[in-house]
């Protein structure tokens, strides 16, 4: 078999993914054969109305659910239905309450395939770097919501898997913290340039963070349109007030509003 060079440059290709739940008359199609791709080092966001099957799509990419039809390719390999090919930042931080902050990160890293010593060293170094060094030995319940999500993001960033899935990582935060987290995330991401697929409800968040925005329709989800985000990096806070930014935001909003 021949795999093209175009495939090798893709961190993720999810092709014609269809997902039906149930059988016969009760069957409900959630994903209507949609294709999504993420290039190496690209930051891609998916926005769509609630209930458009974004979480289901993530479960299929992550291998938790098999698609009814379609294929998932990660890093040029077919991984449909296989787990362990991605690193993941869930909606709620999903830190084990009985492990320290450092312990949580180290555990995930060793599960992802790093050896224990490297995991320990990287964890210590990076916790200090993101200003949470003094919390390394604390239990997660002492952290604030924003700090928890930083730890959760760091845990995914340090994993060796090249593709990161972010499932509404800031959805549970208050508006101000959310804003700070978005700025923090761009600054970290612009240094590391990992391949990221982000699911979000917020159009601003998608535009501010991404290279490309994919707009989904309501159930069964299909790709309505894709936008390349033209704003230069590093992205600045001031972007929010630029007319071009707001024009794009308006267009996506109109698109989502369609029945």
């Amino acid at each position: 078999m021949h795999t093209g060079t175009a495939d090798d440059r893709m961190a993720l290709k999810a092709e014609r993914i269809r997902k039906r739940f149930g059988n016969g008359d009760a069957a409900k199609e959630v994903l209507g054969g949609l294709s999504v791709s993420v290039g190496k080092g690209e930051f891609v966001s998916i926005v769509g109305p609630s209930g458009s099957g974004k979480t289901t799509l993530f479960k299929i990419i992550g291998g938790l659910e098999p698609p009814t039809e379609g294929e998932v390719w990660i890093g040029g390999k077919k991984t449909t239905g296989e787990r362990g090919h991605i690193s993941y930042v869930p909606q709620q931080s999903a830190l084990l309450p009985w492990r320290t902050v450092a312990g949580n990160i180290e555990l995930s890293l060793t599960i992802s395939g790093l050896d224990r010593r490297t995991a320990k060293r990287e964890t210590k170094e990076w916790l200090a770097r993101i200003g949470l060094g003094e919390y390394a030995d604390a239990y997660p319940h002492v952290l604030s919501g924003g700090m928890t999500q930083r730890v959760s993001f760091l845990r995914a960033l340090l994993a060796p898997q090249p593709l990161m899935l972010l499932d509404e990582p800031f959805g549970a935060l208050d508006a101000l913290t959310r804003l700070q987290m978005q700025q923090w995330l761009t600054s970290i991401w612009e240094e590391s340039r990992r391949s990221v697929l982000l699911v979000t409800h917020s159009i601003e968040e998608a535009l501010y963070l991404s290279d490309r925005v994919i707009v989904l329709s309501a159930s069964p989800a299909a790709v309505l349109e894709e936008f390349a985000v033209p704003f230069p990096r590093p992205r600045r806070e001031a972007l929010w007030t630029e007319p071009a930014f707001n024009a794009m935001k308006q267009r996506i909003y109109e698109l989502l509003r369609q029945p």
């Binding site: 787990r83 084990l96 599960i111 002492v142």
Partner: protein
């Protein structure tokens, strides 16, 4: 300091109530004309206990031994059984109804059967205590193993955690909290069932001592045995609670700074 004052505030109301009840009891027997063979006064119970102290301690020793062996054996069996039923789902479907059934056979009915099968030694009684103890532990453990936070479970499966690692890293630690509520119930049951086991066939232990004393019209000795049984039960419960506090240090609360 504040903690000590708090503790004192918690202790004194029940302590005063208890003292008042004891005084009332003493007064009722001394001046109220209640026959001492019907209800001995607290003071005479204590006097009698001191008089037969060495014998009482002998019997207490036998009961403690039986209770600890049964409790330890039952807990270990309950723990192992829960892990087994959790890891082998079909076995769970087969065995769970039988487990529930086993608890509906009254122990006074099981005791003679065990004696018939295994004689009059320590073994059948220890088995009886163990049979009473394992059930709350198995049930508590099983529910703990089955329902860790679904977010956590999804996260760990997403990053490729295998079944065994999921068990060791997530399900088992999560079940430990539940295990302790099972252990506390089992601790109280173990003293109770040890005494019942001794009623049914031995001449050693507090159960036997109570039976002999009540047949010999020595109610003060029966009451002395009851006080020791209650003390034992509280002690074992306290030990389990202490072990819980030492083992589960990560839990929020208890004066620690949160958020």
């Amino acid at each position: 300091m504040g903690n000590k004052r708090n503790l004192w505030a918690k202790i004194w109301p029940p302590a005063v109530t208890l003292a008042a009840l004891l005084a009332l009891w003493q007064a009722a027997v001394t001046w109220g004309g209640i026959d001492p063979w019907l209800l001995p006064a607290p003071v005479s119970i204590v006097q009698e206990a001191i008089a037969v102290w060495p014998r009482l301690m002998d019997h207490t020793g036998a009961t403690v031994r039986l209770m600890l062996i049964g409790f330890a054996g039952g807990s270990a069996a309950g723990f192992g059984l829960a892990a087994l039923l959790h890891l082998i789902p079909w076995l769970r479907n087969v065995a769970y109804p039988l487990l529930v059934l086993s608890q509906n056979v009254p122990i006074v009915a099981i005791a003679p059967i065990l004696t018939m099968l295994l004689g009059w030694g320590l073994l059948p009684k220890a088995i009886l205590v163990g049979m009473v103890c394992f059930f709350p532990i198995t049930i508590a453990m099983l529910s703990g193993l089955e329902n860790p936070d679904p977010q956590l479970r999804d996260y760990f499966r997403m990053i490729g955690t295998g079944k065994w690692q999921l068990f060791w890293r997530l399900e088992l630690p999560h079940a430990i909290v539940h295990l302790f509520s099972g252990l506390k119930i089992a601790a109280s049951y173990s003293v109770l069932s040890a005494v019942v086991a001794e009623w049914l066939g031995t001449n050693k232990g507090l159960g036997a001592f109570m039976l002999i004393s009540s047949k010999g019209f020595q109610p003060d000795r029966v009451y002395a045995a009851v006080i020791i049984i209650v003390t034992l039960s509280l002690l074992l419960f306290g030990l389990v609670a202490l072990a819980e506090r030492l083992l589960i240090r990560w839990r929020p609360g208890s004066g620690e700074l949160t958020k």
